[in-house]
């Protein structure tokens, strides 16, 4: 078994106060044995056997275990934020927690203990009738406890609103009531319940007066703690993103430092990804502007050219608009392949004309340019993919180019008027 958790807080330095805790990642039931074993520097099997043996002495083992469960703080493994986040988001493989061998071993120890206990009960030893049911109940609770993982369990336990909370409250109160009534009436009848009830209310009021401020403080602490946890998870996600994207890109940049083209492409791609992430533009592409940006990103990556996209207004992505994006993409690719320019400006605007709304797109480069009339016939890219595509969907395309003056492709496409998304 690992002993890697020796660097938990408060445990460093020779004279430092050593605090016992329950390691969250290495427990089978509650982590009491693992924590205790680590604290006492004993093999964990000894501790488990010790608990089982102690159970024979008037149930001290079970009681001790429960008490320690209550008093020892649970300690989550201290990973770096990025790793913790990666774990949380399931980006890392490899299981944590106790090994299969350890689980089987502990189950065996427990079974032997139960077997001996059962034997003693049958042979009428010191064991009273209530010991076996109690053990069964405790085991049941332990099993249920382990069925939830920490997050679910915490969320459920700390939930203070909603139907789940109300249900829990009702069940809890009913159980307490039933239990109390059973205990009281089993010997002395119903009148005792009334007496006890009034006494209980008075006692509770007293306890409330004494402990009220303390409980309130605890409650505030809980809220603060929850907030802190949310914050730290957020931080962890940021760290994870930086780790996955920025650090990787920087590593690649160092490897390709002597290739300016690759460096520029990588830097651009990283910049775009980071922007999308920062400004929340990830996810499904459903609007014209988003589709245009996506197209620009792909072209940048494939053709090593800078594509600057500026959009004014937006529109819903339908077939015609998709065709417009595709035609724009073709124009950008053309510019990348033939113009020799290092950068292409794409400007798109939703214009409200007298005859309804339309999208206008301009793709401009400052490359070599060409004479559109002279070579338009054999440039299938322009004829089919740009002009043809736009016209098939009711739009227009115009190519303007002068040698040395660069090229500008202007595309327009009518869109339905009312469906603006901004």
């Amino acid at each position: 078994m690992t002993t890697a958790a020796n660097d938990a807080p408060g445990r460093t330095g020779p004279g430092a106060y050593r605090r016992a805790y329950r390691p969250a990642d290495r427990r089978i039931v509650a982590g009491v044995s693992a924590g205790l074993a680590e604290h006492l520097r004993l093999p964990v099997v000894w501790v488990r056997v010790g608990f089982v043996i102690a159970t024979f002495i008037h149930g001290a083992g079970v009681l001790g275990y429960l008490l320690l469960w209550w008093f020892l703080p649970l300690q989550a493994p201290q990973d770096s934020p990025g790793l913790a986040s990666a774990h949380r988001r399931g980006l890392r493989s490899g299981s944590r927690g106790p090994s299969r061998r350890e689980i089987v071993q502990s189950a065996a120890i427990g079974a032997i203990g139960l077997g001996v206990l059962g034997l003693m009960a049958l042979t009428g030893g010191w064991l009273q009738g209530w010991m076996l049911p109690l053990l069964l109940v405790v085991t049941g609770i332990a099993v249920v406890w382990r069925m939830f993982d920490d997050a679910t369990w915490n969320a459920w336990l700390r939930q203070t609103e909603g139907p789940a909370y109300v249900a829990r409250l009702l069940v809890g109160v009913t159980l307490i009531g039933l239990g109390a009534i059973y205990v009281l009436t089993v010997n002395r009848g119903w009148s005792a319940a009334v007496d006890f009830g009034s006494a209980l209310v008075i006692a509770l009021a007293g306890i409330g007066l004494i402990l009220g401020p303390w409980i309130l403080g605890l409650w505030t602490d809980l809220g603060r703690e929850r907030l802190e946890r949310i914050r730290s998870q957020e931080r962890a996600d940021v760290a994870a993103h930086l780790h996955d994207s920025v650090l990787q890109t920087l590593a690649l940049l160092q490897k390709n430092a002597d290739d300016p083209g690759t460096v520029a492409t990588l830097a651009r791609r990283q910049e775009r990804e980071l922007r999308d992430w920062l400004y929340g533009r990830q996810g499904e592409v459903t609007t014209f502007a988003a589709a245009l940006r996506e197209m620009a990103g792909e072209t940048e990556a494939n053709h090593r050219i800078v594509v600057e996209v500026v959009t004014v207004g937006d529109a819903v992505l339908d077939d015609a608009v998709r065709a417009l994006v595709a035609a724009t993409g073709e124009a950008v690719v053309n510019a990348a392949k033939h113009s020799g320019a290092a950068r292409v400006d794409v400007y798109a605007e939703r214009v409200l004309g007298s005859d309804g709304a339309r999208l206008e797109v301009f793709v401009r480069d400052r490359g070599t340019g060409f004479d559109p009339d002279a070579i338009a016939e054999d440039r299938l890219g322009i004829r089919n993919s740009i002009i043809g595509r736009a016209e098939r969907h009711g739009g227009t395309a115009r190519v303007r180019s002068t040698p040395d003056g660069g090229t500008e492709v202007a595309l327009t496409m009518p869109v339905s008027g009312e469906k603006e998304t901004s």
Binding site: E271, L278, E308, V310, V312, E349, E408
Partner: protein, 214 residues
């Protein structure tokens, strides 16, 4: 031409170093970086002490951002916003507070020098992206606009100039396209800037009077 003194305000030391190095390499004799500042307080101090001709101003800064600096020192120096931010609110905000122009951080050194020259000469500098933001703002797509209908609407010509700048045209090309002089283009651009800043001042007045502050 006299040497322009420049103050670089950015909270990232690496970026300041990079800008300084590029300006010194390419712009010796034209510009001189007289100082650097990393947050609002140090920037305000440096502007008061050094009186630079042009302040290269990051939009996001510790202590309140570029708009806070503009609020505190007024427009005693000329400000050119130089930002990596992609959010229209940030960019338009700093322009409306009084910056004379906005360029993105991936601008080349030559273009940056040119932009510094132009803002120092009293001209406004609109990058294609800023022109796009401006058009959006006046079209009402960006909510911060709330442009005063009577005063602040862009004329057709101003709008046309903005569109061409957004399409990546240089001033010279805009002039050629619209058959006007470069001087006229500059006039249009400056008047767009004035309207932007005016509308913010109007807004401020309205805000103040709504709350019975004046």
């Amino acid at each position: 031409m006299s040497v322009l003194s420049v103050l670089v305000v950015d909270d990232h030391a690496m970026f300041r170093t990079g800008v300084r190095a590029e300006l010194e390499r390419l712009g010796s004799g034209r510009v001189e970086v007289v100082g650097e500042a990393e947050d609002v307080d140090s920037a305000v101090e440096a502007i008061a002490a050094l009186r630079p001709d042009v302040v290269l101003l990051d939009v996001h800064l510790p202590g309140g951002g570029g708009t806070e600096i503009l609020r505190r020192v007024g427009t005693s120096s000329t400000f050119l916003a130089l930002s990596v931010s992609d959010a229209a609110e940030d960019v338009i905000g700093v322009i409306r507070s009084g910056a004379r122009g906005y360029v993105t951080k991936n601008i080349s050194a030559e273009e940056l020098l040119d932009a510094i020259d132009r803002v120092a000469g009293g001209d406004a500098v609109f990058s294609p992206r800023l022109a796009g933001f401006v058009l959006d703002a006046f079209a009402g797509t960006i909510e911060i606009a709330q442009v005063d209908e009577d005063l602040d609407r862009l004329t057709d010509r101003e709008r046309e100039v903005m569109r061409l700048i957004a399409r990546g045209y240089a001033y010279k090309e805009v002039a050629k396209e619209l058959f006007i002089s470069v001087k006229t283009v500059e006039t249009h651009v400056s008047s767009v800037l004035r309207k932007l800043q005016l509308s913010s001042r109007h807004e401020l007045t309205r805000w103040a009077s709504d709350r019975r502050l004046i």
